[in-house]
Amino acid sequence: MNIDKIDRQIISATQAGLPLTPQPYQTIADELGISAETVMQRLSDMQEQGIIRRIGAVPNHYRLGYKFNGMTVWNIADEYVDEIGERVGQLDFVSHCYHRPRHLPEWPYNLFAMVHSKTETGVKQQQQIIAELLGEFNLGHDVLYSIAILKKTGLRIGN
């Protein structure tokens, strides 16, 4: 998975946001001193290689009315966590689903699923749906609501 300096520059430029002009890739190409074809080809290659997940509009969930985001966390036996994670990740209200390490004794949870809803009740219902899906595989869970966004920036990388 090797990317070079030009790939990094293209990622940086496109992460900041494509310009809202008729030929946005040309604008980025001009800034980098390369051709628009190169920009598009490399973006396409990086998607194929699994470096770029997607190219598109990045919604602001909070502004769109999804004011309640809950980080639901679950304690799943290690031998089942992949199977369970795949199933939870398929739920349409789950935006991210990750396996992370436990830190015993203070942190027993190894599966994280981010849910979004317009109401606090909605988050509770989503948590309940996940709990029902997990059944006896769920050895314990919690939900952490966000109270305040203290810093939020797009991913930045060096050149």
Partner: protein, 151 residues
């Protein structure tokens, strides 16, 4: 307010934004509207902050290394520690959450050595332990998050 066109653009173009010389024109053609209408609608979505940008989304941990970090901070010191943490350019998201672990942030660095040195610096400067929760597996299925605009 969101118009039907805004909603369609939001739901249809979270992924597969055209990789062509004139992407907005391509979108316009597929929706049967003009390029100017598409550009105007995206401008409105951006200006009203319904979208943060049209851009590329990177798969975690392919470029540099990152980890989620949680800290348990007494309430009266939370703002001070949050400011210390946010000050580091390696810190990407920083949220206050309702839990004993009340400060949650994502750190990104070029390699693990850099990452550990930033965490160490944060622990020393704040006086609190940082719990590292790096991603072990990403159960990524959904492409984009389906918006419910019915209510």
């Amino acid at each position: 307010m969101l118009t039907p066109m805004h909603k369609q653009l939001l739901n249809d173009y979270q992924q597969d934004f055209p990789l062509s010389p004139t992407p907005y024109k391509d979108i316009a053609l597929s929706l049967g509207i003009t390029e100017d209408e598409v550009l105007l609608a995206f401008n409105e979505l951006a200006n009203e902050q319904f979208i943060s940008r049209i851009g590329s989304i990177i798969v975690p941990n392919h470029i540099g290394v990152s980890t989620l970090v949680a800290m348990a901070i007494p309430n009266e010191q939370l703002q001070i520690v949050a400011d210390i943490v946010s000050h580091y350019p390696e810190v990407n998201h920083n949220y206050e959450r309702e839990n004993r672990f009340n400060l949650w942030f994502v750190l990104i660095a070029k390699d693990d050595e850099d990452l550990q040195s930033v965490i160490e610096a944060i622990e020393i400067e704040s006086g609190f332990k940082a719990m590292q929760l790096p991603l072990l597996e990403d159960y990524f299925i959904n492409l984009g998050f389906e918006m419910d605009f019915d209510d």
